[in-house]
């Protein structure tokens, strides 16, 4: 019993030490993980689609509000933005804004 408990604690310590992103992933607000289909989380990917990780969350919220109004014109983002309430957008923006590469 003692031995298994030590294993359990060791595993827990491992999470605290090296896997902070696990807690972040577990806390991802609804919809946030879908974004990375187009908005890469990997720094090595060079595309025309802006990355969201580490971006100022207020800027993400402002961009999503602008997309909803259709100004500036976008391709897919106008309709995707309409799928999320202001609070939901704020949660997603805060989550991406808090992450670092």
């Amino acid at each position: 019993m003692n031995a298994t408990r030590i294993v359990g604690i060791a595993a827990f310590a491992l999470i605290l030490a090296g896997h902070a992103s696990a807690a972040e992933l577990a806390d991802a607000p609804p919809g946030a993980l879908s974004c990375s289909g187009c908005h890469s989380t990997a720094p090595a990917v060079d595309t025309a689609v802006p990355r969201l990780i580490g971006r100022n969350s207020a800027d993400i919220v402002a961009a999503m509000q602008a997309f909803k109004t259709g100004q500036p014109p976008s391709t897919v983002m106008e309709r995707i933005a309409k799928g999320f309430s202001e609070d939901e957008v704020k949660a997603i923006a805060a989550w991406y804004g808090a992450q670092k590469d």
Binding site: A22, A26, G31
Partner: protein, 421 residues
């Protein structure tokens, strides 16, 4: 770990949790998850389960060491890209501590919660995720057998079939006729037959301009239809679409005569691409998670099968309501399913998810169009969030089409990096 040992371990973990914060996560320690199928759904799901809770033991079961992506494979058929650009390996999953078993899953015992592989090993699971993609319904279109597919390729699972169709187009004389048979709904990649027709038409226009292309369709409507039709009118006068109500449904094929038969006509082809009726991958039948349609009903929040507890189905094989059978959908579903599985093995309830799908099609190398939607569970199904589903504008300038072609390429780079990179 035996079942008894595991119970003791969980008890110990729970006892440890009394001394530490985050008791729910501590309960998930040592749980075993097996994921079958290493495509856009399965490989994503395996990695994200491990990333969300590194203590869960995750095994990915995949028959092939190299994955060949279907999205963008129409550009390979049209000679615009090499198949190598569609190929990906599983090395990075191993560095994520996902145990990868390169062997087909041959048996599933939902009572004992075990998966048996072709290599003879047996893997116990607490939760099983199936992401098997599609299988061809070989019996559904009379005359279209596995042997027939060597002469009339489907190229609907990328690989040798993709190259076969490309070689046939390259070997065809200028002035030949290409016939594509498109199936009734539902099937993998709803805009796929029409993107393929467009890119083959592009190949013919640039290399064999006296040739023509006919799409025989078992439907009267299809994804991004007006966008495709407008583009065809402008770019490809030699492309003809025959709808269901105009007699387009192929009722049998005669491989020896290279002929596709409809109720009203016989279409002789120099190159025939038969996109046949489909169903969820074979393992869905073995696990008894497919219903009489051949596809798998699921809970819209967790993707857990409605027919078998503790088994989840994602991607093309699932009945995901309003979400199309696309790689983007499979990837988005995989992440929702991973979060749900991590919660369930820890004894908590999955959150209500929100999902997105975005699908690009190329009408020409510099002409992209898109469809997208946002989805959520409602009334036990996955439904579109009202006002979010739509396609590119019909009257967009060339610059917008070129931009969407760039975004299509960007999407492929981004998603394949997330799944395999």
């Amino acid at each position: 770990m035996t079942r008894t040992n595991r119970r003791e371990f969980l008890k110990a973990a729970a006892a440890g949790a009394a001394l530490l914060p985050l008791p729910a996560i501590a309960q998930g320690a040592g749980a075993r998850v097996v994921v079958v199928g290493g495509g856009f759904g399965g490989a994503t799901c395996a990695r994200f389960i491990k990333r969300i809770d590194p203590r869960i033991n995750v095994t990915l079961v995949e028959a092939n060491r190299t994955f060949i992506a279907c999205p963008y494979s129409n550009t390979v058929i049209a000679g615009l890209r090499d198949l190598a650009a569609q190929q990906f390996g599983y090395d990075k999953l191993a560095t994520d501590q996902v145990a990868v078993q390169f062997s087909p899953a041959t048996g599933i015992d939902p009572q004992r919660r075990t998966v048996t592989l072709g290599n003879g090993t047996e893997h116990a699971y607490d939760r099983l995720v199936l992401s098997p993609g599609i299988d061809i319904r070989w019996s559904a279109l009379p005359g279209y057998t596995e042997t027939a597919a060597e002469r009339m390729p489907h190229a609907w699972r990328a690989g040798e079939q993709t190259l076969l169709l490309r070689r046939q187009l390259e070997a065809m004389e200028d002035g030949g006729t290409v016939v594509i048979s498109a199936p009734a709904n539902p099937f993998r990649c709803p805009p796929g037959p029409y993107e393929r027709a467009s890119l083959i038409a592009y190949y013919l226009k640039t290399k064999k301009p006296k040739s023509k292309l006919i799409i025989l369709d078992a439907k009267d409507a299809f994804s991004k239809q007006r966008l495709f039709e407008n583009a065809w009118k402008a770019l490809y006068p030699n492309l003809e679409w025959v709808s269901l109500s105009k007699g387009g449904k192929v009722t049998s094929v005669d491989v020896g005569a290279m002929t596709l038969v409809t109720d009203f006509d016989r279409h002789k082809a120099d190159v025939a691409n038969v996109i046949p009726p489909q169903k969820g991958g074979r393992i869905a039948d073995i696990a008894a998670v497919a219903d009489r349609t051949g596809w798998c009903p699921i809970d819209p929040a967790s993707f857990e099968s409605k027919l078998q507890p503790n088994i989840h189905v994602i991607g093309d094989a699932s009945i995901a309501g309003a979400m199309p059978k696309s790689a983007f959908s499979a990837n988005a579903q995989a992440k929702v399913c991973a979060a749900a599985v991590a919660k369930l093995v820890a004894g908590s309830t999955p959150d209500e998810p929100r999902l997105i799908n975005t699908c690009y099609s190329l009408v020409a190398p510099d002409y992209g169009i898109s469809i997208e939607g946002v989805y959520r569970p409602a009334d036990g199904q996955i439904k579109e969030v009202e006002g979010t589903a739509g396609v590119s504008p019909l009257d967009a300038p060339n610059a917008t089409r070129a931009l969407e072609a760039t975004f299509a390429n960007d999407w492929f780079k981004t998603i394949t990096t997330e799944v395999f990179g």
